[in-house]
């Protein structure tokens, strides 16, 4: 699972979202995703994070043990 694939997964799960992935250690493990999405409007931060996690269901089981998340309404 590359950083690009994670970005693609989030974007295809949340169509129209803007996704920036930061991989500060360049290890593909401790990554942070900054997601801007109009569909976050009216949702709690918990719900917004759940929406992102749902797009990465399979990946989060193993490879990405620590995904930092920042969500914003676009």
């Amino acid at each position: 699972m590359t950083v690009q694939e994670i970005k693609d997964k989030i974007q295809s799960g949340l169509p129209g979202s803007e996704v920036e992935i930061q991989d500060p250690y360049n290890d593909g493990v401790h990554i942070k995703a900054i997601v801007k999405f109009s569909g976050f409007s009216g949702k709690s931060v918990l719900e917004q994070h759940r929406m992102v996690y749902a797009t990465l269901k399979d990946e989060l089981k193993e490879e990405v043990h620590a995904l930092g998340l920042e969500t914003k309404v676009s």
């Binding site: 401790h30 931060v45 994070h49 996690y53 990465l56 989060l60 089981k61 620590a66 930092g68």
Partner: protein, 103 residues
């Protein structure tokens, strides 16, 4: 999920007003995100219970299913799932966490 496991998880969550599932212990966190949440709780002077998921593989996996949340740490207040590291940090910054803890 097995009922005994669910009972165990619910029992832990109900044992204190504020409860944290984490990797390691508050004195010796084993992951940066767990350390981050303990730092927030310490800075707010919060008393809380904690469980080291590294000590029990069943709880480690079970808690993800229980909360429908894929990562650890997980913070609970009054039995309610609050969120993981990023949400806890954000809520502490906005003052929302303090409000929840005060109730």
């Amino acid at each position: 999920m097995e009922k005994t496991l669910q009972d165990k998880i619910e029992g832990l969550i109900g044992s204190q007003k504020t409860f944290l599932f984490m990797k390691g212990t508050p004195d010796a966190p084993m992951c940066g995100f767990s350390a981050g949440v303990t730092n927030v709780l310490r800075s707010l002077g919060v008393q809380y219970g904690s469980f080291n998921v590294l000590s029990d593989q069943n709880v480690r996996e079970g808690i993800k299913e229980f909360a429908n949340w894929p990562t650890i740490p997980q913070l609970y207040i009054d039995g309610e799932f609050i969120g993981g590291h990023d949400i806890v940090v954000e809520m502490a910054r906005s003052g929302e966490l303090q409000k929840k803890l005060g109730n």
